[in-house]
C-alpha cells in the first residue's frame, strides 16, 4: 500500500508527530549548519553533533521558480508544472536554510516576514509512495 515517505533519511525526523529539520552543531565554536555533516566549515573542527533545528524564522530572501526544472534531477511533475516559491529562512539564532515555500504568490511574500516549518508532498515515487519534503509558510498573524 502507498504511504508517505521522507525525501531523504536524516534530513528531518520522520516519521514523527512533530518533525524537525536535522542540522549539525560544532561542539567547539557552536556554528550550526544544515543538513548534518561532519566537519565545521567555520572553525575547521571535526567535532560536530546532530541538532534539531527550530521551526520558526524570518524570510531572508525569496524567488519564484517560474519554469519546469530539468528532470533529472527534478522529480516533480514537469508535464503539469506549477510555479513554486523558493527562499532562505533565517531560523531564529541558528542558521539560514534554503527551502521550498508553500506559496508562489509574489504579493504574499515579503523579506523579513515570520515563517514556520511545514511538510508538503514533493512527488510520487516509482512505488506510488507520496514523497514528503520540508517547506516554510508565512505565519498567519
Amino acid at each position: 500500500m502507498a504511504e508517505q515517505v521522507a525525501i531523504e533519511e536524516g534530513l528531518f525526523t520522520w516519521p514523527s508527530d512533530d518533525p524537525r529539520l536535522l542540522g549539525s552543531q560544532c561542539q567547539d565554536c557552536g556554528a550550526i549548519i544544515f543538513p548534518m555533516q561532519s566537519g565545521c566549515p567555520r572553525c575547521a573542527s571535526d567535532d560536530t553533533k546532530p541538532k534539531e533545528l527550530g521551526t520558526r524564522g524570518k524570510l531572508w530572501t525569496w524567488t519564484i521558480q517560474g519554469y519546469p526544472p530539468k528532470s533529472p534531477p527534478y522529480a516533480g511533475d514537469v508535464e503539469n508544472f506549477e510555479p513554486f516559491g523558493v527562499g532562505y529562512v533565517e531560523i531564529h539564532d541558528e542558521v539560514k536554510v534554503e527551502t521550498r515555500l508553500t506559496t508562489a504568490d509574489k504579493d504574499a511574500l515579503r523579506i523579513g516576514m515570520e515563517m514556520e516549518l511545514k511538510f508538503i508532498p514533493a512527488y510520487i515515487d516509482d512505488d506510488g509512495n507520496e514523497v514528503i519534503t520540508f517547506a516554510f509558510s508565512p505565519v498567519n498573524e
Binding site: E8, F34, T63, Y67, P73, E98, K106
Partner: protein
Amino acid sequence: MSKPEVAIVGIGIHPFGRTPERTGQEQGVYAVRQALKDAGVEWSDVQFAFGGSQAAGAADTMVSKLGLTGLQFINVANGCATGGSALFSAYNTIASGAFELGLAVGYDKHERGAFRVNTRSSGLGDWYGKQGLALTTQFFGMKINRYMQNHDISHNTLAKVSAKAFRNAEHNPNAWRRQPISEEQILESDMLSYPLTKFMFCSPAEGGVALLLARADQAHKYTDTPVYLNAAVVRSRRWGSFEVMAPWLALEDGDGPTVDTSKAAFEMAGIGPDDIDLAQLQDTEAGAEIMHMAENGFCEHGDQERIIQQGETEIGGRFPVNTDGGCLANGEPVGASGLRQVYENVLQLRGSAGKRQVPNNPKVAYTHVYGAPGISGVTILSK
C-alpha cells in the same frame, strides 16, 4: 603599477552561440589557430598549455588535431572559473621562469536550456535536485531580490543592463544575440525567477577562446601591441558568503569571493579601482552586473541605480562595462567565458574593437568571473 612579468601576445576566438557543425573541441582548435596566427608563431613553438571545458571533453585531446609536439598540456576543471584558472596557471608558469611561451585555452558546448546540475558532483544530496532546488537561476533571483530591497535598485535598471548588452553586441561579430531588445520587451518577457525575466538571463552556449602568453620582456618578438597581465587571481568562498547551490547559509552575513578576489588583484597590480578604464564583469543575469560593480570596488552599494540610469556604463560613458555584450549577449560556454572577457579587453587596449571601441585610448582594463560553488577570478590588463 607593479612591473608586469607576463604579456598576452596572441588572441583567438571562435564565435559564440550555436555552431551545430563543429564540436566544442573543434571550436577550441579554431581559436588556438587564430591565436597562433595573431602572434606569428607555430604550434611547435608553444611550450605548454592549460585548457578546459565543462561539457565538451578534455582539452588536452586537442593535440591530436593541433599536432603531437609533446608539449606539457594540463587540463583545468574549475566550474565557471575554468578559464580564469587556466590563465592564472599559465601566468604563473611564465612568471616562475619555467617556460617562456604558452597557451591558455577554453571552450564548451552545452545542451539547450538551463544548466543541468549533477547534485552529487556538486557535493549535494539527491534530495536537493529532486525537490527543485538545484537551479543556478534561483540563486541569482534571490540574491538580486534582496539586493534591490536593501539598496533601492529598480526593475527598470535591470532592464537597462540587458538592453545595453544586446546593443553592444550588435557591433560584435562574435556575439550570439546581436539584435537590440527594448527595455519594455525585456521587462515583459517570461518571468523565469522573480524578479528576473527571460531576457535578463544569459544562456549556456558554445564557443572557444585561446590566449598566447609570453615573458613580458620578450613580448615585442611576437607583437607590436602587447597587453600586459598585471594581475590574475582566483579565490573561493569564506564563512558568511551567499553562494549559488547552498542548502544553508551562515547566520552571519559576510563578503563573497568576488570581494576577496578583487582586493587581491588590485594589491597584486599595485593600483586601485579608479585606475581602471573599462571592465568586463560577470553578468550571468542583469542583477549580477549591478551587484558586481560594487563587489569589485567600482562604486558603493546602491550607487548603481544612478550610475546606470545616467548611462555611465555605456561604451561612451565614464566607466564602460561589458563592451562585447557580456554573458547576456554571448551566452556562457563555461570553459571559454572568462577568457572571452580577457579577449575583449585585449582588443580594447589594442584599439582594435571596431564600432564598439571605447574612446579616449583606454590603458587599463579589468575582468571578473563568478560561479558555482562560490568562486571568483579577476584579471587586470594594461598596455
